[in-house]
């Protein structure tokens, strides 16, 4: 139990860019009416509970990993995408990063 004490230093709203991105995608989908917030909260709290059985969650990186998993599941359940698509596009992004010269913008090839 250390987290409640470590609260004095100012902290960024989002510690990592991807935390902000996954937050924004979720909020945008909620606003577009893909799901309501109580539904999100119910699903998200279930994921947190499940992850929390394995280890005590610190509310940082592990919180957003649970958030991402919840969003993926929600989109797969809703038929917006499927696990294979997510894996494939994710691999395409990885390839794009590894083949883009440092300093150039990383873009996904249009295949």
């Amino acid at each position: 139990m250390t987290d409640c004490i470590a609260h004095t230093a100012p902290e960024p709203v989002f510690a990592e860019p991807w935390h902000a991105q996954v937050f924004a995608v979720t909020v945008a989908l909620n606003e577009a009416g893909r799901f309501d917030w109580p539904e999100w909260a119910t699903r998200f709290s279930a994921t947190l509970k499940r992850h929390g059985l394995k280890k005590e969650l610190d509310g940082g990186e592990d919180y957003f990993r649970a958030w991402l998993e919840t969003l993926e599941t929600l989109l797969v359940d809703g038929g917006e995408t499927n696990a294979g698509d997510i894996d494939a596009v994710s691999a395409a992004w990885e390839k794009a990063y590894l083949t883009t010269p440092h300093g150039s913008p990383v873009e996904l090839s249009a295949d």
Binding site: T2, D3, H7, E11, V13, P17, E56, L75, V89, S90
Partner: protein, 210 residues
């Protein structure tokens, strides 16, 4: 904060762009898929991030508290039904649909938690801090609130009861802290500067004027 999972080239020249950690790639993948389907707009995502990173934060809630300290009629209305009252100040929208303000008194100190996840009044406080989202706070705030308060440096007189409010996706609580002594001569702006984020969650007290 945990280190990103995959940052393989941190200490030498990069032949290629720095590879983000695995979850970041998956988020990019979701964004790509949803953008291609027309379900999200990248510009709208940037706007959402900018809003919560730069525009909305505890300074909003602090204005509400300072106004309640100086305007009895505003305070009465705020405690009766906060949502329309704060909306009049321009604080409304996402996760602010039903806000309830609970007032600290010498007899009762209020403290807010979301035991299920991290429900929080975004329009007034922005995005919750890491500790608010931690398992430790979520479990212990209810079980041993005085001990948690002590860890935050808040020592209350023994005659002050502690009441813990559990925010949900339907109701989000904001604490109205007690106005510090020695602030009679301060105007609303000066008072606003004394109101901390934690004092509106109930894990802190307002600053005392120097």
């Amino acid at each position: 904060m945990a280190q990103p999972a995959a940052m393989p080239h941190d200490d030498h020249d990069h032949p290629h762009a720095l590879l983000p950690p695995e979850p970041a790639l998956r988020v990019k993948a979701l964004e790509t898929i949803l953008t291609r389907k027309g379900l999200v707009d990248p510009a709208a995502l940037d706007e959402i991030i900018d809003t919560y990173q730069n525009k909305i934060g505890p300074q909003n809630g602090a204005r509400v508290v300072a106004k309640a300290w100086t305007d009895p009629e505003f305070k009465r209305a705020l405690l009766e039904d906060a949502t329309p009252v704060v909306a009049d100040l321009g604080f409304y929208g996402r996760q602010g649909e039903h806000i309830v303000v609970v007032e600290n008194t010498p007899a009762q100190h209020n403290m807010v938690v979301c035991t299920l996840c991290s429900c929080y009044p975004w329009p007034l406080l922005g995005i919750p801090p890491g500790w608010y989202k931690s398992d430790a706070y979520r479990a212990r705030a209810v079980r041993e609130p005085r001990k948690v308060l002590a860890e935050f440096g808040v020592a209350l007189p023994s005659e002050t009861a502690v009441r813990v409010w559990d925010s949900t996706a339907e109701i989000r609580y904001l604490v109205l802290p007690m106005r510090p002594k020695g602030t009679v001569s301060l105007d609303e702006d000066a008072l606003t500067a004394l109101v901390t984020r934690d004092s509106m969650i109930g894990t802190g007290l307002p600053k005392v004027p120097s």
